[in-house]
């Protein structure tokens, strides 16, 4: 590995301590840490609410919390998980940390903008948290009108305004990533030599920049109608409630891809590494990320098949939804084929990545049911939808996030963690997840509607399974908090490249120096050149 002259090499972690050195840093690696801490807090906050929801639903009667409290629980669970965890999750933490390292740059294109985005994020999310403490919000994360504008008695304006502010942080990150990928690639690092993680960060950033302003506009219109009575969505004021749904899903469907593309990027790094094989069909995987980013903008109406939208619009949106399924399917096939003829080992991050592959596939296949018009009429707004998007968002994205955190943990912290505990957590998470969410597919088919505080007793069997699963899943997510926390301070020192991985980030020290590379690296070939010469293959 790299030669170390003198005593301990300088790392970004040793570059001054204390609040000022962290809170006023412009180092992308430290900003990634700021995000990681904030997002971890939000993840467990949102998760705690999910556990409360599942405990309530363990019995058919609504007997643990009141109707209003239940509505506030699922609303803030959704708002926190979507905007304060999933959207920034991988981009703002792993993306922030790795994007410059992977392309051989010293930092992102706009380091101050990067820090500013974190402050905007904290301010906006704090604003929304205030609305929760002040009395909560009960509109669901979807803010459907005219309920949100004219009928809800909760703190809708504050919550929506907080999300509006957080949107700017998303846009800042997006702009930063786009410019960085265009302008700061190392010599020789052409587009088709980029790791897939960089491709997905780029595709995600494009969607962030193009879609988030629409969300901002729709949230501001909600505040205007609610506070000033300007009629936009409420028919009583001459507005159209479906207009809001069009605006909202024009953002929120692409946002689904903001939430899953980065996960696809992470597993595209991990599967080749632990298979000791190049990624199968690199070009197809890279281009399918872009296809997803583009087609993702054309399918929003599939959330509205029974909303009163024209049936002919429904036809078009259903057709386009099947088109967007194809690049995802292509990726799954390519990931699976990557394992062929490899020398596969099952480190923690590989187990998470394989878990992602299974859960994402079964979540994606459920999408075929939902895009089929006549079937969607039945399962729309039922637990089938809840199961589908949790398979993608939690089974897919959160699992990929865990895979990525474990994969790059030695690089980020310079420490190793316990593989045994890591593998146990990965397996517990996988089992707990399926126990929680598979029963929800059955519930949805049976006709159990979403957002129900109480339900008829014939649904109880599947709800009890789901609630039991939630406890297991919570355990699976709590475990890493402990063994990674231990590793951060007590773990054995990590070598520069513990997984024998390709990629520029592994060419520098663990943890990297503040300026990332002592010399600007030069790239002379494609990514994923596994097996390495030193593998002896």
């Amino acid at each position: 590995m790299s030669e170390r002259i003198g005593a301990v090499p300088a790392t970004y972690m040793g570059e001054g301590s204390g609040p000022r050195a962290w809170l006023l840093t412009t180092d992308h690696k430290r900003v990634a840490w700021l995000y990681l801490v904030a997002l971890t807090v939000f993840f467990f906050l949102g998760g705690a609410m999910a556990v409360l929801i599942r405990v309530e639903l363990a019995t058919p009667a609504g007997d643990l919390v009141s109707d209003d409290a239940y509505d506030r629980l699922f609303s803030i669970h959704g708002i926190i998980m979507v905007w304060f965890f999933l959207v920034p999750s991988i981009p703002a933490t792993l993306g922030n940390f790795l994007l410059p390292l992977m392309i051989g740059a010293r930092d992102l294109a706009f380091p101050r903008l990067n820090l500013a985005s974190w402050y905007v994020f904290i301010f906006g999310s704090g604003f929304t948290l205030y609305s929760v403490i002040a009395g909560g919000v009960d509109t669901g994360w979807t803010f459907y009108t005219p309920f949100s504008t004219m009928f809800s008695n909760s703190y809708v304006s504050a919550a929506a305004f907080g999300v509006f502010i957080v949107g700017f942080s998303t846009i800042m990150t997006g702009i930063n990533f786009i410019v960085t990928v265009h302008k700061l690639r190392a010599p020789g690092l052409t587009w088709f030599r980029l790791p897939i993680f960089v491709w997905t960060m780029y595709a995600t950033a494009l969607v962030m920049v193009l879609a988030t302003p629409v969300l901002a506009a729709s949230l501001i219109l909600i505040v205007l109608e609610r506070v000033f009575g300007i009629g936009v969505f409420d028919p009583g004021l001459g507005g159209d409630p479906l207009l809001f749904q069009h605006l909202f899903w024009f953002y929120s469907h692409p946002a689904v891809y903001i939430m899953i593309l980065p996960g696809m990027g992470v597993v595209s790094e991990i599967l080749p590494c632990f298979s000791r094989r190049p990624l199968f069909g690199y070009t197809a995987v890279a281009l399918s990320s872009m296809a997803i980013a583009i087609f993702g903008f054309l399918v929003w109406g599939h959330h509205m098949f029974v909303s009163g939208q024209s049936a002919y619009a429904g036809l078009v949106f259903s057709f386009l939804s099947y088109c967007v399924a194809i690049p995802s399917a292509i990726k799954v096939f390519n990931w699976s084929l990557t394992l062929r003829k490899g020398e596969i080992t099952f480190e923690t991050s590989m187990l998470y990545a394989l878990g992602f592959l299974g859960l994402f596939t079964f979540g994606g296949l459920a999408g075929l049911f939902l895009a089929a018009l006549a079937v969607d009429v039945h399962v729309h707004d039922t637990y089938f939808v809840v199961a589908h998007f949790h398979y993608i968002m939690v089974g897919g994205m959160v699992t990929a996030f865990m895979a990525g955190i474990h994969f790059w943990w030695p690089k980020i912290t310079g420490r190793m963690y316990s593989e045994t505990w890591g593998r146990i957590a990965a397996i517990v998470t996988f089992l707990g997840f399926n126990l929680t969410f598979f029963p929800q597919y059955v519930l949805g088919f049976l006709g159990m509607p979403r957002r129900y505080h109480a339900y008829p007793p014939e649904f109880a069997f599947w709800h009890i399974l789901s609630s039991a699963g939630a406890v297991v899943l919570a355990l699976g997510y709590l475990m890493p908090l402990f063994y990674l926390g231990w590793s951060l301070f007590r773990g054995p020192r990590a070598p520069d490249n513990p997984w024998r991985a390709t990629g520029l980030e592994w060419k520098t020290t663990s943890p990297p120096p503040p300026h990332n590379f002592d010399e600007t690296p030069v790239v002379d070939g494609p990514p994923y050149r596994y097996p390495l010469a030193e593998d002896g293959a």
Partner: protein
């Protein structure tokens, strides 16, 4: 059903078997593909685990024929599923001509239904087996959604417009009616029953509910009480158009456009009369926005529709 654990909803409408065929076909395809991929990944994981004796010669990291093949196969399967779902879905647009039309109204947090004979019920909907029923849906406040799992039908009730859902019950029984669109505090309490009855039982049930005015007659009374008849009756139709036979026909507008006089047009003309004024009339009609509620609008629409011969309805 096994051990009392439900795995599938009841099938109680003419639509349910068709939807279920597609659902089970998708389920079979999903499991076939899912199990194939799982077997592939698990098989590779075992066969090519590090240090295994498996032959690794002939490895490759791309294969254009394979990639073209699976892309094409995915396209074909996806479009076939699309077509199947689309054909079933378009049936929603065309209720049978002899369908019974029932007015459904959602409000926080109850369902109200009115039968053509004027019978009114709350959180229950009685329908005959074997006869198509169209429920025209309106909402008094926020968006609700009419969902009967056993019938495989769902339709949002959106304030400010009329939507429709139709079904033909095939089995007598009591079936869950849910509100499927989150509507506030007691959303999960906005539930009821659809009671499907043999036609003779349905007739007897209607009889028992008492024979007051029909829905159209209630609308006619309202039409007079609100003073609409002052301008719109035959004898006085100078300031305003006569409304006989208007529903379901094209109307020439003062701005020289033509619109179909459907429920949307009639409803807008009552609430926002200045928007689409019929050609040849001054825009003198006052708005009834705030003066009539959604239930009264449904009565008025029922009356106006009764002024047009049935075969003229769109």
């Amino acid at each position: 059903m096994s051990f009392g654990i439900p795995f599938a909803p009841e099938q109680a409408s003419s639509l349910a078997p068709g939807v279920d065929h597609l659902f089970y076909a998708l389920l079979a395809f999903t499991f076939a593909l899912g199990i194939f991929l799982s077997a592939l990944v698990i098989g590779y994981s075992v066969k090519y685990r590090a240090g295994s004796p498996a032959d690794r010669s002939g490895e490759r990291s791309r294969s254009a024929p394979l990639e073209i093949a699976w892309t094409t196969a995915t396209l074909v399967v996806a479009f076939a599923i699309f077509a199947w779902g689309a054909v079933l879905f378009m049936g929603r647009e065309h209720p049978p001509a002899d369908a019974i039309e029932i007015a459904g109204l959602g409000k926080q947090w109850m369902w109200q239904f009115r039968h053509p004979g004027g019978q009114r019920e709350i959180d229950e909907l009685h329908v005959p087996v074997g006869r198509a029923v169209v429920v025209s849906l309106a909402s008094q406040d926020v968006i609700h959604s009419f969902f009967v799992p056993a019938f495989r039908v769902k339709q949002d009730a959106v304030p400010g417009r009329t939507t429709h859902v139709w079904f033909t019950a095939t089995e007598p029984g009591r079936f869950h009616l849910f509100c499927a669109e989150y509507c506030g505090t007691e959303h999960s309490g906005m539930v009821g029953w659809v009671v499907a009855m043999q036609p003779e039982d349905y007739a007897a049930w209607l009889e028992r509910q008492g024979s007051g005015d029909t829905l159209a007659q209630q609308g006619e009374k309202l039409f007079r009480a609100l003073g609409c008849s002052g301008c719109h009756e035959n004898s006085t139709a100078v300031r305003a158009p006569d409304l006989h036979g208007v529903y379901g026909r094209p109307v020439a507008l003062a701005n020289s456009q033509t619109v179909m006089a459907d429920e949307r047009y009639l409803r807008d003309s009552i609430l926002q009369p200045a928007r689409e004024v019929a050609a040849g009339y001054e825009p003198v009609m006052p708005s009834f926005d705030g003066l009539v509620d959604e239930g009264e609008l449904q009565m008025l629409l029922s009356y106006l529709k009764s002024l047009s011969p049935k075969e003229a309805s769109p």
